[in-house]
Point group: C2
Chain length 354, copies 2
Amino acid sequence: MSVTSVAEVVAQIGPPDAGAARKALERLDRLTKPPGSLGRLEELSVKLAGIFGSERPRLRDKTVIVAAGDHGVVAQGVTAYPQEVTAQMVANILAGGAAVSVMARQAGVRLVVVDAGVAGEVAAHPELRLASSGKGTADITQGPAMSRAQAQECVLAGVALASEAAEAGADLIGVGDMGIGNTTASSAIVAAVTGVTPEKTTGRGAGRSNVELDAKIEVVSRALAVNRPDPGDALDVLAKVGGFEIGLLAGVILGGAAARRAVVLDGFITAAAALIACGLAPAAGDYCFASHRSVERGHRVALRWLRLRPLLSLRMRLGEGTGAVLAMGLLDAAAACLREMATFEEAAVSGRGE
Amino acid sequence: MSVTSVAEVVAQIGPPDAGAARKALERLDRLTKPPGSLGRLEELSVKLAGIFGSERPRLRDKTVIVAAGDHGVVAQGVTAYPQEVTAQMVANILAGGAAVSVMARQAGVRLVVVDAGVAGEVAAHPELRLASSGKGTADITQGPAMSRAQAQECVLAGVALASEAAEAGADLIGVGDMGIGNTTASSAIVAAVTGVTPEKTTGRGAGRSNVELDAKIEVVSRALAVNRPDPGDALDVLAKVGGFEIGLLAGVILGGAAARRAVVLDGFITAAAALIACGLAPAAGDYCFASHRSVERGHRVALRWLRLRPLLSLRMRLGEGTGAVLAMGLLDAAAACLREMATFEEAAVSGRGE
C-alpha cells in the first residue's frame, strides 16, 4: 500500500471480522479443555480470529520495527545518558548486541531498524532503514517539536514500513523505540491526550533520583503550557510535543491495522504512539495488543485510555521492542491452540457430566 | 542417575553455584541497557547462571513431562468430568490434540507423557511411558491414598524420568499433570503442608457452582481429619492425601534439581508436587521456576510457601504443563540476554553521565 496522506490510510482501517471472532468463540468451547480454562489466551485467540478473518488463524512471520529518534528536550537535562547514545544504540541493535537483537534472534522475529530522526551520526549499515524527518526534534519547552508537515511525514514513513512488512509476510508486527529523551516526550503526549496531569504521566525513565523526577515533571508541564497541544487533533499533539520515532511508530500501527495485521505494542513510548494512532483512527486499537506493563508511571494511564490489558508484568523498562518480542510467543500459542486443538468429538473425550 | 531410595536423590541435591550467580549479577550491569531495566528477566538470568554454573548460561533442549493419574476421591462427587476423561486425555495429548501438545509443538518443547496411575484403559501408544503405581488412588475420605511404599515408588519413577531427560539434553524440564480429581488431592496437600485451612486451599477446579465448592471443601477437610498427614514428613502427606501423578512429578522436581537442571512448574497440581519435593529436599526450590499463577485458589498459598513468584498471570486453569511451556520462552530470553548482549565497552556505547 502506498498512501500519500494520513487521511487515506485512516480510511482503509476497517473493523475486524466479527463473524470470524464469533465462530472462534464457539469453537473454543468445543475444544478439549474445560470452558475458559485457557484464560486470557482465549481472549487473544478470538481477537486474532477477528483480525485475520478466520476462526483458525494462522500466523506466519513476525517482525519488530524499531524506530530511533532524538529529542531536543535533552537540553533541559532530563536524561541520565548523553544524546550520542541513541546513535550508538542503533549501531548496537544492528550489530546484534542489544537486548532486542538477542531476543528477536532467539524468538525467530525479524528485526527492522529505522533512523526516524537521529541527531548524531549513525554508522552506515546495510540493514539500517533511513526515514529521517530531521536531526532530532526541537526542544519542546521552547516551542513545537516539529512542524505539522514533519509530523505527517514521519507517520507516513511508518505506514510504508508496516505495509512493506505485511507484504513480506509478517502477521505479527511489533513496535519498538530507541531515543534518549523519549520518555519525556511520551509523558507529554499521554498528558495531552488523556488530560491526566504530568505528575501521573511522568516517571524516572532511565534516571534516578526524586530531584531529577521533579525537574522532569516540571519540563513536561512547561512543554504543555508553551505548546498547548489540541487533544482532539492527534497530529497536533505529535507535532507539538512528540518525536520523530513516536510518529513513525504511530504510522506503523496505522499501517498494520490497515493491512489487517496484529500489532504488538511494547512499553511506554509505543503506548504514546498508539495514543496518536488511535487519535487519528480509533479502530486501530482493535488491531493492537499490549505486550507488557512497564514500571514507567504513565504506561498504566496510557493503556487504560487505550483499553488494552497488558499480557506481561515483569518490571521491565527498556523499550527497543523487547516486551513486544517476548509477548509474541503468547500470541503464537493462543492462535495455535484455537487452530490445532482437537474438539471433544474429534478426540472422543467425554464432556462434563451435566 | 539410577537411585534406589528417596534419601539417595535428596543427598545429591546441592546448592546452586553462588559464584556464577554473582558473576552474572556483575555482568548484567555491564550490558548495554540501563541497570535493572530488564526487570524480572534479570533475576531469572541470575538464577539460571547459578543453576548451570555459568555467568553465560546456554540452554539446550526443553522437555515437559506430563504425568497422569486417577483419584479414588472422585467417588465423593467432587468433579465435573467423569473419571474416564483421564485416560481419554492421555490419548488426546499423545495424538497431538490437547492444549499442551499444541503449545509444545509450537514452542519446540519435547513432550513426555507418563501413565503414573490411570484407572481406566489407556490406549497403547509408542510414545506413552508406563510408570504406573496403581489403577488410581484409594478414596482419601476413607483412608490413605496409597501405601508409603507406593509413594516412594512413584517419586523414584519421576526421578528416573528427570534423569533420563537431563541425559538426553534437556536443560529446562517442565512438569505437567492430568488427572480428574487431582485438584482435590492438591488442596489437601497444600492444607496439610502449610497449615492453611481447606477453605483457602480449595477452588473450583473444573467445577462450577458454590454448592459444589462447599462440598469439595468438606471432602478435603474430611480427608485431612481421617488421615492426619504429618506435615513434617512429605512422604506421609503424599501417601495419605496425594496422588500417583503428583508423587511422580515431585520426583521429577527432585531429579531435575539433582541433575542441576532448571525445573519449570506449571499450575496448582505441580505446586503441590513442589511442596512434596521441597519437603523432602528444601534445596530443590532453588532449581524451580513458577511459570504462572492460575485462578485456582490454593495456588497462591502454595507459591507463597515455596517463595516463588509466578511469571505469568493469564487466568489459566488447565494444567497439562501448558503454563510451564508458555514460560519457557521467557527463560530462554533471560538466558540469551545474559549470554549474548554486548557490554558497554564491547559496543562502544557511552554510559550514564555521572
